[in-house]
Assembly symmetry: D3
Homo-oligomer: 135 residues x 6
């Protein structure tokens, strides 16, 4: 059980309900996840985090599915069970197949491996990797 | 300087040269990065890691650019400077724009934030996130 | 179940009991946590860790509650369930309110986010942040 | 050098200047750090992150200095050099003494140690640590 | 339950059975762990990871037990429950005593502590630690 | 440069000198590393950390070289440059060859890879890995 109890819609303040409503409208679902129900104990933080998720995860230069895959990659690296399962579900809803999930796992695992080879051997960065990105 | 010295092509054994040749052929480049030159101190590991990178990073259910973005996401989370810079260069060579890089950073950062909210509050996983993926 | 079994007071050696007694006296409690009961399988390490906790967590330039909050911040970042729950309880016993806990979560989460923005973009440290602290 | 170049005030768009102005006004300083200058390459993210920092780091149930100490604790655990140095400077500006910094380091280090003892031995959480916080 | 279901020998394709057979022959056991049964959903990755484990974990300049202890050290640092328990069992099968396990935990914990002291204080590397290893 | 300045022997208090003397005697060297010189800003913590290192790293059920290798494994996983370089030097002084170092890197890297496969797929722990160690 979470350290603070989840707050259901029926028990929520108007400010919290407004966030819940926006989540449900934006995502076209009829309930909100435990994540939001627990954050609702701190309404200002609930709103802040939701606004961040809403804007950062919207499709832009990267499409929505790619963003979900990136979310899973980070969550696996950090071992956040809740985030792995919720964003895997989110990725699946956006079109991720099992084959894509398997490749995602392989890439994340390999990157964690070569990260340690690079850091462990203290490998010098090749000069040509130092070019900044164009504006 | 790395803990073991990089091995240049001219000084490499035939087994190491064979891997270097395969890297250059596969990637259509005319030299190999410091990463491979340092790993070459352990030829068996050099070959193993290269075979892994070659097979895991090849386009499949996920395209090559998406895989590079995932690699950067992991490398940023782990703070591997070499990997961030080399895979950012790799992603750029495969079409990543600066706008895509900026969105990548925003997603990775936000995922690291919500990972800690989920883990910190010990939020229970919603039952519907427990459905396994289809075969 | 832990990898080695917890050792209860009744079954403990005199050396282990002496540490248990000191923990109970120092903390004014009548039993010790599973953490200590498991460490007791290695009496020398039990004593070493307890002496460290006793001295580091005592109030000094920082008060005892602030130290517990810092402990929770680290434990959330590392995802140590035992440590999050035990030190949240410890912080609560020293006066942490639910409002303080919520703010703690928000700060820890945000720091994890901006850590990745700084590391991901490889932002140069501003010169004025290089001033050493005064003796 | 950062992966994207910092944007100076003189070269910034009105939207970016508005954020810079708010940072300088809120913090009563006459320039902004490299962190913000680099984020300015993505004005929407710049504004989002600044709004988050502004609201989360404002004094509330926790005072501003405690929040800076927590920020340093997370940044040390993650090894973010930029964040360690900038938030140590921030903490110092808010009253952190060298003695406080030394104790902060000791607590962060010890928490990282006992996190691994708890996770490594797989210690069961004591039942009484499962009480949720009061609303 | 894992995100993709484990594949039992009776249900496995010839390619997967060939890997299972090699695991059982190499390790002189009559079944394979859940780890391999889950990886079997991606036969190419199953084979790649098994070949890596088989070659990296074979005794060489380091003996097999030392390699298992190192595996546990990494897994504790990353908090991978599956890996801690499976490689602790593996180390035990290769001769690790409880006394050795306790010392392993103490070293891993202490290293995590001093890692943060070094990174937190930003301690300069002593020149003599910069000597590369001999070829 | 470290956040607090290193304290040289000539400038050290008697309490700090006593620790420096014990380090030099125990290790049979004629100077102490920057690590200790920086910790010396907090004499109580200096003594505590040194006593911990002295007792934990002494040969016991595990020999001194194995303990140094474990230290490097943790330090690579956490990316602590100071610790990687100082404990690699320490391991070398205790007999680690370059071949051993290369195998160490391969094991650490692979463990980081399979840690993420286990955590990412949420693989269930096999029942037989749950047996506790014998007392």
């Amino acid at each position: 059980m979470a350290i603070v109890p989840p707050i259901e819609y029926a028990d929520a303040s108007p400010a919290v309900r407004a966030v819940y409503d926006d989540i449900m409208t934006t995502r076209r679902v009829d309930s909100v996840n435990n994540f939001w129900k627990v954050l609702a104990n701190d309404p200002a933080n609930l709103q802040r985090v939701w606004e961040s998720v809403k804007s950062v995860m919207a499709p832009g230069a990267l499409d929505a599915l790619t963003k979900e895959l990136l979310y899973v990659a980070v969550s696996v690296t950090n071992n956040c069970e809740y985030c792995i399962l919720s964003h895997t579900a989110g990725a699946r809803a956006k079109g991720m197949t099992t084959a894509m999930f398997n490749e995602l796992m392989a890439v994340v695992a390999l990157a964690n491996e070569t990260n340690r080879l690079s850091n462990g051997y203290r490998i010098d960065v090749d000069d040509r990797f130092r070019d900044p990105l164009p504006p």
